[in-house]
Symmetry: C2
Subunit: 271 residues, 2 copies
Amino acid sequence: MQSNVETVSVVRLEGGSSSVIEERLVREAPLTIILNDRELVTLLCSPTGARELAVGFLASEGLVAGQGDLKRVIVDDARGVVRIETYDDRSGTNEIFKRFISSGCGRGATFYSAADASAINKVTSRARFSSEQISGLFAEFQRRSELFRSTGGVHSAALCDAGEIVAFAEDIGRHNAVDKVFGRCLLESLALEDKMVLTSGRVSSEILLKVARRGIPVLASRSAPTDLGVRLARDLGVTLAGFVRGKRMNIYANEWRISNDSRRLGYPEDT
Amino acid sequence: MQSNVETVSVVRLEGGSSSVIEERLVREAPLTIILNDRELVTLLCSPTGARELAVGFLASEGLVAGQGDLKRVIVDDARGVVRIETYDDRSGTNEIFKRFISSGCGRGATFYSAADASAINKVTSRARFSSEQISGLFAEFQRRSELFRSTGGVHSAALCDAGEIVAFAEDIGRHNAVDKVFGRCLLESLALEDKMVLTSGRVSSEILLKVARRGIPVLASRSAPTDLGVRLARDLGVTLAGFVRGKRMNIYANEWRISNDSRRLGYPEDT
């Protein structure tokens, strides 16, 4: 069983005194994805949820579309390798590699152009949530984020329906946490058009595009969005909430999906 | 003149009430680096400091080693493009592109192996700092991080000598902020072996490797390191401080370079 934390001895300096304390550190490990016998990429990530991360990464890169595309997924936790075979091999060309350079690699290394956004269908889901639902789901989200509380070094992401969290993941990488959630959705063929994504991290254009591409109507974050994240949310019909803290939140785009009351809404919304 | 912030109208929900407020958002813009007439990568970043970012990125990727390698750097802020010509073109092969996939792309997408670390010389600088110096430099670092205070959405990085900050940068990306600082160092041919790097962000293996490759003896962060960051710091002779807050800090590796007192140390250290 992989663990996401490791304990090390560190020297604590405080004022003029020094002591040795034990501290829990978040683990970081390489995960190599081999797609149809070809080494595709090595991600640095938290070690748990390797299967979900590998599948979610391929989905985010457009290399698999659904659970039916997957012939076999073999996880070797000890070696940090996930081998995936698909029925339709789209990884044989250098196009994929060029794509990764411009769009796959986070670090900020990604690509946004009008063409990129116009290739994505506008999200039209009529799902709605109340501000109280969002606050309640966020409170649960924070409670689940144990690793963050114990180490201060990870991001969390979750997929929720109107009542509860249906998939949750943590990772040292903002993108990885979101991809793990989507990987789980793909492996379990979960419907997404009535769901909401929660993230602890900043909403940059890349995260927004990931959510929009899957037709998910609402994205809520504990942090701030970028201007480009907001612009894309407005263009692509995604409801974007940020700085969700307690009963407070800011809505940056498509606020019609959020009612500022305590009604329990969902999908379809018939009121 | 580029700006790193943009003001938008947002809907603030709080309890049962709603209002429209103006909020300052951090900007996110694509920056395309063209190296010797070949499009190399598009980064998403804060718009200021494009020259420093492009040069620092190339240096981090091993494509330029010093200021003397640069024939010409042309910045087109309006189009978000930096064209760089080098005397020695190392970008002509696909090797570079493969390297970016495994090692350049952050997002966590990077590469670490024993070979990777063993290709880096152990940092042997005898520079030392006192805990009070570090606390003082960090206080100044926080004061400079205006964009963070006004938007909550960026990372900062700085290079310091024993007395003051000599280079400072902010960016939406943790890696970009560090690369901007190193780009400036390269453009100004600053010596690095007596310096310290400050970062607001988590210390992952990639940041540690960037610092170690340049022979910089001390890295101090406001945040937590990962276990791999700590392991590499110990292996590569880098002094690593984390959770620097007020007069408190944790030292994870090579603590001999930090004295727990108020002496003003520096380089070389003769006491």
